[in-house]
Symmetry: C2
Subunit: 343 residues, 2 copies
């Protein structure tokens, strides 16, 4: 699309407030010097906040939005006043072509609904999916989808998610032929639901597409680095994602408890702090931030609600990468190829 | 049932072989001095293995089984020669009343199928479920079911799992009124599938039963210690369980990598070894071993295939606890109470 992407930012969304959001955008601007921004929110508040970020000020424009989507507001309700909210206006700027992508840390359900209504689903896609990168022991992260946008999915949805996920992995992880697996409860052919088995049968035949279907993957293999894309329905994806988050936190809490259990452990902990900091860095969700709704005519990225400055900058960096690589066009090409072969 | 329970052990099942299995049983015998055992397997091999365990020898009997169920053998195939296999004979000893429980580390699908066919499902239960304790930050473990026996479940299955899981938690965790939650992708009422919402509606009305329904729980809250029983279909349960296992291993691998990244970290690691050993102890699956098939007329416990001596002893200890507390009768009573109230 463009080499100097313009990103629309919902400056009012997220649990951390406007100041953290602006600090994150300012950090993104320092990291990626060619970006410029449309900051959507209450004009007076955004301008006041910008005072401490002269570099960002010089490369952004403020777009006034009188209203905010509540964090627990129902999507149906939020949609009715979309055009007045910072979230809805940020998405609309993408639709108008004024921005190449929109980034929000606000209410996920409302963001999905507004994005779908405003940008519409791509030709060849029945349902958009929420995709996000997760850390692994391998050379790159793994992208997982759907993470909760569609509670139940049929085989065709899963196949479409695979095609879209592979396009994402090619761009973000710089791969030629990402390894794509279906999340299942066993690796044998007869395992799982009809939907999963049917999707596997279709994906096995796609050797003409730029992806390598690697069969079924179980929950204990997600982070091993043996797959680049993991496809599932939104229920399973949400359970897996949140269980992984919860378990990582559980282990970290146990570790903390163990390290403070004696003076000796405390001393050991202090000495090995660089190691535990490395671990913290690797597990910090802010270093993997930026879920994307794949399958829309435009790039909409969802940041964690509780993302810090670094997390917001990461999400914006991901959005810019997808824009530069022309994600939407690439997905469209793969879908067309898939349909040609199927015809 | 009895204060000196007899446990039938499938001596040939599991990945670690007969020697580890016998060492595990011998350890269980040392831990629980009133237990005695029926050791099912190739008679010559079992007797040879027993030579190094005189205490176990004195409190066990060998039951010959000419065949073994293969670890990747299909359940349908295994069932046809059930009466000749160590697994099938161990279960049959429970049916005959010669043993109070059967323990196997072999093929889960075959064990489930054989147990269901031989012992039959309890009155009031449509489908048995696989349940296992998982570690938490709280005072007791949490029992989760179903972990993979039933890929898809209706609301009635989920309600029955809740009743059975609560009976288990009352016995194993020594609670009066276990807190029971349904695994879901959000805590709001409208979240999830019809099956889950319908099950929630039924469970809300069960204040006469010895359980406290606490609503929906998300994947990131499983280990927080706020619930005693977590109910889900076998697909979600399997995904959550394996994702938790995989994530714990992932974090441990990262930690290992971090601790060996410099001399300083290595020194810190050595000093704080008691702390990391504590963590290892808490996370070691062998300390939480022993999944049980709930809803059968008899106690059948599945040990991890790769359990070590300690893991096998833990699984046998759990089986003995359930036998002593008369699990099957307690579940039957709760089911009768549930049906009385529904009538």
């Amino acid at each position: 699309m463009t080499d100097r992407p313009c990103i629309a930012v919902d400056a009012m969304g997220g649990d951390e407030g406007l100041a953290v959001m602006l600090a994150g955008v300012a950090r993104a601007r320092r990291r990626f010097e060619d970006l410029h921004f449309l900051l959507v929110g209450d004009e007076a508040q955004v301008r006041a906040g910008l005072a401490s970020h002269p570099n960002l000020s010089a490369h952004s424009e403020v777009v006034h939005a009188p209203e905010i989507v509540g964090s627990s507001e129902k999507a149906g309700q939020a949609i009715r006043r979309a055009k007045k909210t910072s979230m809805g206006i940020a998405i609309d700027l993408v639709k108008q072509g004024r921005a190449a992508a929109a980034v929000s840390a606000g209410n996920t359900g409302a963001l999905m609904a507004m994005a779908k209504l405003s940008l519409r689903t791509m030709k060849g896609i029945d349902r958009p999916a929420l995709a996000a990168p997760l850390p692994t022991l391998g050379d790159n992260d793994v992208v997982m989808l759907d993470l909760g946008a569609n509670t139940e999915c049929d085989a065709q949805n899963l196949v479409q998610f695979a095609v879209m996920g592979a396009a994402y992995a090619r761009i973000v992880f710089d791969l030629d032929r990402p390894r794509v697996a279906l999340l299942n409860i066993g690796s044998e052919e007869q395992k799982g639901t009809d939907e999963i088995r049917d999707a596997a049968a279709v994906l096995k035949e796609q050797s003409h597409l730029p992806l390598a279907f690697t069969g079924f993957v179980e929950g204990n293999q997600l982070a091993r680095g043996q797959h680049d894309v993991i496809v599932c329905d939104g229920f399973a994806g949400n359970i897996a994602l949140k269980t992984a988050e919860g378990t990582a936190r559980f282990v970290a809490d146990l570790l903390k408890r163990a390290f403070t259990s004696s003076v000796r452990s405390k001393v050991g902990f202090l000495i090995s702090r660089p190691a535990t900091e490395l671990l913290k860095h690797h597990l910090d969700p802010n270093n993997h931030n930026g879920a994307i709704f794949l399958g829309l005519n435009g790039v909409v990225v969802k940041s964690h609600g509780s993302a810090n400055e670094n997390g917001i900058a990461t999400a914006i960096g991901n959005a810019a990468k997808l824009v530069r690589a022309d994600l939407t066009r690439r997905i469209a090409e793969d879908l067309a190829e898939f349909e040609r072969a199927a015809a």
